[in-house]
Symmetry: C2
Subunit: 458 residues, 2 copies
């Protein structure tokens, strides 16, 4: 097949959109370890999970046997408003690099939330609505997830309470206003509206907040308010299930043109995009039907897979959430302040962690200056301003394509372009002004946060 037979952008028709999510856990021989109650250390039961999450989502969280789960009609309808997302053949980037490789990217940024997060937000909002809830609570850092959730909630007429890390609330007022425009209430965290918030404010009056604290506040607000539940944008198995639409669409689009990927690359923070993108491909590997090289890319300043430990850890600093077995840097790990992009979660989704542990994927850590160089090179020829998160994948895709240039191999490289960088221009400005620097945590720093792991042996 000559290059030109593949269009710049492959759009599936509405008929070709996935009607079921793919649940990769069903095909995993080594299942991801269960979430555990931090008090009893026992696996979380459906009843326990249903106190925090909607019941249907709790069921999905526990379901590691059904390979396919129907996407409800209402969610399919919403997906049609912004999906299929295009699978783009990066002809211009290939030409610029002079590589024989064929580069494809699945672009999830063409929706107002600006990222793939909307795929799970709409599912979580739908189940909350169907359960007759009044609203949901969540936390957001830079605001991608909060934006996606506020869009989803406004669509279903659901109340949406977002706890936004105070420093972001103040320094990213535009994200905050997008959420408010969609009708969400946005509270800077820590706030005096929760017990945990008041405690932190008393202890550290000048604090600018952290994601861990915002999670604790959002969970508290959910469990103490009648008709509310807590929702989360990454890490959880239910989220990876919803995000499988990314991989399913990608696979259908590639199959249409007879393209078999050699390398699949995704950025990895909590693992939602990576897990979704690779799901059907890993499924084939798990069933012994095919083989792919899968690369998870993480920031060198927050290297949970490449330098973390595979153990049970707390999911939040307040330690109110269930514990998860994952590659982790320790729940007290906070990336250096000069870290500009996202992907700053201390752990990695249990599914991705288990797959990594079992050798189905490799991980690579990259430094942010190199990441922004890749972003700049990419946007100038492909015309999309990528989010810093997504640019981690771009960096490695370019590196792999340049290797092909040396070896002469015409590999098919597929990567996930998770979102746009319109709300990250402060980081771009730093890069444009030559003021961006890199920082790799020392072994001692990582040891220190790992020393605060829960004192259990599971």
């Amino acid at each position: 097949m000559t290059n030109r037979e593949i269009p710049y952008k492959i759009y599936l028709s509405e008929q070709e959109l996935p009607k079921k999510w793919y649940n990769v856990r069903a095909d995993m021989k080594n299942k991801p370890a269960p979430l555990r109650n931090p008090g009893t250390l026992q696996p979380m039961t459906l009843e326990e999970l249903s106190g925090v999450f909607c019941r249907e989502l709790a069921l999905q969280e526990l379901n590691d046997t059904d390979p396919y789960i129907d996407i409800p009609e209402e969610i399919q309808s919403f997906y049609k408003m912004y999906r299929p997302s295009p699978l783009v053949r990066a002809y211009c980037l290939e030409e610029k690099l002079g590589t024989p490789a064929h580069i494809f990217y699945k672009f999830e940024g063409n929706n107002t939330s600006g990222s793939h997060k909307l795929n799970s937000a709409i599912a979580q909002a739908y189940y909350a609505k169907r359960q007759g809830l009044k609203g949901v609570t969540t936390e957001t850092g830079a605001g991608q997830w909060g934006t996606a959730l506020s869009m989803a909630c406004s669509y279903f007429g659901l109340d949406c309470k977002v706890f936004m890390v105070k420093v972001s609330y103040e320094q990213k007022p535009f994200r905050r206003e997008v959420m408010r425009t969609f009708g969400a209430s946005v509270t800077p965290s820590p706030s005096p509206t929760t017990r945990v918030g008041r405690e932190i404010l008393e202890k550290f009056p000048g604090t600018t907040g952290s994601l861990g604290c915002a999670i604790s506040e959002a969970v508290e607000a959910a469990v103490t308010t009648e008709g509310y539940r807590y929702v989360l944008g990454s890490v959880l198995s239910q989220v990876l299930l919803h995000q499988s639409v990314i991989g399913l669409e990608t696979k259908t689009a590639l199959d249409k043109y007879g393209v078999k990927p050699d390398v699949i690359i995704g950025c990895a923070g909590g693992g939602s995009n990576l897990g979704g993108l690779i799901a059907p491909f890993v499924g084939e590997m798990l069933r012994g039907e095919a083989d792919y090289q899968i690369i998870a890319v993480e920031p060198a300043s927050c290297p949970s897979m490449t330098r973390g430990k595979y153990v049970y850890d707390f999911c939040d600093t307040g330690m109110v959430c269930p514990m998860a077995k994952m590659y982790t840097l320790g729940s007290s790990f906070i990336p250096t302040p000069n870290h500009a992009g996202g992907l700053r979660y201390h752990g990695m989704s249990s599914i991705v962690s288990q797959l990594y542990h079992d050798g189905y994927l490799t991980a690579r850590a990259v430094e942010q200056t190199e990441v922004f160089k890749a972003a700049e090179e990419f946007c100038r020829v492909e015309g999309i301003l990528p989010a810093p998160e997504s640019s981690h994948a771009i960096r490695v895709a370019i590196d792999e394509a340049l290797k092909c240039k040396e070896t002469g191999e015409a590999k098919n490289i597929v990567f996930g372009l998770t979102g746009t960088g319109f709300f990250d221009m402060t980081a771009y400005e730093k890069f444009n002004d030559g003021l961006m620097s890199d920082y790799i945590p020392t072994d001692a720093e990582i040891e220190k946060s790992l020393s605060r792991l829960p004192k259990v042996d599971l």
Copy 2:
């Protein structure tokens, strides 16, 4: 045809993309009046225009006879990176309004520049490159056009000098950084780098700049620098020619599903989006083949069509550009400072002006608070955060759909959604906080700026 046979989004295939632009002037019996030299008052010649614009664009500016002009291969390739833009059936908005009307919108915001401006930017950059120029200069206010041009120039490796109105340069640093990321140099205007800039700085040391002044600086920089030409993002006939891709795609998409629009609505600042959207439809009207109701929507605070005069006027405050016959409020007209959206140009494209004068379209002025209400209502169900400019069209589309609800008519309403509002969150914040107000200029204010029209009778 039942509703559900029409998908949420109609995407044309690459094969269906326009290969020629449509030049509506060829079908106009009353041609738009020519640009005139402000010194001699004679129509601008090809030679005169070629001193400011690239030769091929000067030719296009003068061409009012050829109905179709080939889109060069290189531009078609670039278009494929972000086009076709989707024609969206607004099922959710229809349901929310409870209207029997069928609402469609052509969404031009799914590219990094965030608007339709890229359609002409890439054409102008291409012709500059083909002529062997080193670079181009331009002005930008809020930054949509400057962003689009910087993307286009980076694609062709062309230098791009943007004069950005100083107040925007300082208050919209994110737009500025997008341009810089694409390699453009961005200078706050007025600047000491031009004669006209120095003069203005001397006379008004504290000035925050104006679009008219930035135009004058950009033109001066172009004509005094070897290998540079000036480019403009709206108003000109060449720009409307390039923007005809919007209308051509829209018509092809509607034709595929046998939909004949009853009402076509576009926001109108300089006229580039409106002119492009309506081109093929007006063409049918001009040739007596069909009839449509076309509505141009402008801000009540900058009402060039509904309250301006149809006369020759200066295109810039520095009066260095050719004069154009257009509906104008006078080149010294500046919208009230509380005006939040764009669409702040004092005049209207000669093509749109002539069509309006001849009764092919009507115009409607709307107030910004109502515009933002429409934007909010739209985004909460359709999931796209619209630019304030685009929201003018949304306002009138909703109004027309509500009229259908009263009359029971199932009209087909098509409007242009020109772009996204990610860089307009300051205006949204004002609206969200209930602090947005309206201002309609008094007759005396408009009389005053109209009293400064050029003293010629043409």
